[in-house]
């Protein structure tokens, strides 16, 4: 059963299109990573799913309901981001107390224990916390709501590495105990890709790719070898990424389905097969095809 369904969503801010032609479905109880470069509309998409913003056109349903202005969706979903704010006169404990009243499945004990573990004083104030601590608190808040759709927008910004590790672990453990639909957008894909089941890749306001992580890992192959040989083999094929390593060696990334050539022959020509990590692949898929930062300096 798909919990989230988006069909042809478009979102315009004045004249600029933030999202266009977004169509995807997310099934129940999956952890999906929402990836993409800065400004590709990840935040906008999450805000639409949470009902904070209304799409310009297209249909969005969460639990078969339109999320904008829907109480049921609001009660069963949560968006965690670093713009989250709470009334200035509430300390962390006050916030948690109200969460108990608002959220039917709120786990007060979990929240209290996590707060203690991450050394957050319940008597302190949200606005007094550092960026990392604020995000840690927001994360705890999001986890403890146990909402069936939990959306994290860059949840780990500002956290140090130890905290990040703990946060990933906490997320996984709670997910195992209470499976739910989770979408995480993050820049740290390689840090958390083991948590993910699916990847939703956005590029310039469009869905570039929506696959399971395992498929993604097998989606592309990298070839490293003499430029001339590689050029010959890859002629006519779709190249996802290419880069001149040294003057006569180059690295090319191809779709795995296109690589029907004889491995033996390639090896004989000195071309090596290399797997492509999910993180790199996402970068390749969203980079402008006209080269990378090195080319700027090569001019």
């Amino acid at each position: 059963m798909s919990v989230i369904q988006c069909e042809n969503i478009e979102k315009k801010f004045r004249k600029k299109k933030a999202l266009q032609n977004i169509t995807f479905q997310i099934e129940d109880e999956k952890i999906t990573g929402l990836v993409g470069r800065n400004g590709t509309g990840k935040t906008t998409l999450l805000r639409i799913l949470a009902g904070f913003t209304k799409q310009t056109s297209g249909t969005v349903t969460v639990f078969d309901k339109t999320p904008f202005n829907n109480l049921f969706v609001s009660a069963n979903s949560i968006l965690i981001n670093d713009q989250m704010q709470f009334p200035g006169s509430f300390n962390l404990q006050d916030i948690l107390n109200y969460a108990t009243e608002f959220y039917g499945k709120w786990d007060a004990e979990l929240a209290a224990r996590l707060l203690q573990y991450f050394r957050l004083n319940p008597q302190s104030y949200h606005s007094d916390l550092s960026k990392g601590m604020k995000n840690t608190f927001n994360f705890i808040f999001g986890l403890a709501t146990r909402c069936d759709v939990t959306l994290f927008d860059e949840p780990i910004n500002g956290m140090d590495e130890a905290v990040r590790k703990d946060v990933y672990r906490a997320l996984l453990k709670d997910y195992l105990a209470y499976p739910r639909t989770i979408i995480i957008s993050s820049h740290f894909l390689d840090e958390m890709e083991h948590l993910l089941e699916d990847i939703l890749l956005l590029d310039e306001g469009k869905v570039a790719l929506h696959k399971s992580l395992d498929e993604l890992r097998e989606y592309a192959v990298g070839l490293l070898g003499p430029t001339e040989a590689i050029k010959r083999w890859t002629a006519g094929l779709e190249v996802l990424h290419e880069k001149q390593v040294v003057s006569n060696q180059m690295y090319t990334v191809l779709k795995a389905q296109d690589c029907t050539f004889n491995e033996q022959q390639l090896l004989q020509e000195g071309i090596a097969f290399m797997p492509v990590s999910a993180n790199d692949l996402c970068l390749y898929l969203t980079n402008s095809r006209t080269g990378d930062i090195d080319d700027v300096f090569n001019e």
Partner: protein, 251 residues
């Protein structure tokens, strides 16, 4: 009315602006926590709830507001006193109106009456009476009649009249030398009245009675004879009485 209305609305908007700025600057400096907030609010609210009870039990000096009937009666008394003064029948009024009494032996055959600050208008009416006695004894009696403040208009209230006789200062009567009697107006007296109400004129509903507030004045009733005091001086026939203002002398 309309111009005034516009001005008052503009003034109101100006004050709104100032108050908003004030609160804004205040909110930047304040850190408001739940607990102290609640305690503060509870304290303030309690004080306010207790305030009316405290107000109720506090001692107050209330004034008697005269009804028309009372005022008529008091005026009648004044009239009777006035008549009595000229007929030498004051004895029955002594108890109520007599405030001071004195007598003095003089050697000379004449006395002078002198009014101080007559330009302010004398608050004391002087009545000189000759007696048949052949002594050198002069007696003086100071009477104070009922005296009203009339027509105190306060906003939504009807005008009210009050007998303020008890609160006035007495005139000063002294002998300058052996034969000169000086009568000085009573020292200035300040009277403060307060009225309190739960009603305001912002929401003064179209109630005819409460709309008499066009002119807010306090008037002190002018009597046919100026001032609230009479000084009755009784002199033996053999003594002559003189005054710069001139005198009528009654037998």
């Amino acid at each position: 009315m309309t111009n005034f209305g516009i001005l008052s609305i503009l003034f109101l908007l100006l004050i709104i602006f100032i108050v908003v700025l004030f609160i804004k600057s205040m909110s930047k400096h304040m850190r408001l926590n739940q607990r102290p907030l609640k305690i503060f609010i509870a304290f303030y609210t309690t004080v306010l709830i207790i305030a009316p009870i405290i107000y109720l039990v506090l001692p107050k000096t209330e004034v008697t507001i005269l009804t028309d009937k009372m005022q008529k009666k008091l005026s009648l008394e004044n009239q009777m006193l006035y008549n009595a003064l000229f007929e030498n029948k004051t004895a029955e009024f002594d108890e109520k109106f007599l405030v001071n009494e004195w007598s003095r032996e003089i050697k000379e055959k004449e006395i002078f009456l002198k009014m101080m600050n007559p330009e302010e208008g004398s608050q004391v009416g002087i009545i000189v009476q000759q007696s048949d006695a052949l002594s050198n004894q002069i007696t003086g009696k100071l009477y104070r009649k009922n005296y009203f403040v009339e027509e105190i208009h306060l906003r939504n209230f009807d005008s009210v009249n009050i007998n303020i006789v008890d609160t006035l200062n007495e005139p000063i009567i002294t002998w300058e030398d052996a034969t000169t009697l000086v009568v000085k107006n009573p020292p200035n007296k300040k009277l403060s009245f307060v009225s309190v109400s739960d009603a305001t004129d912002i929401i003064a509903f179209n109630n005819e009675d409460s709309r008499k507030n066009e002119s807010t004045v306090v008037k002190i009733k002018e009597w046919e004879y100026a001032g609230p005091y009479y000084l009755l001086i009784t002199v033996p026939k053999n003594i002559k009485v003189w005054s710069d203002e001139g005198l009528r002398i009654y037998k």
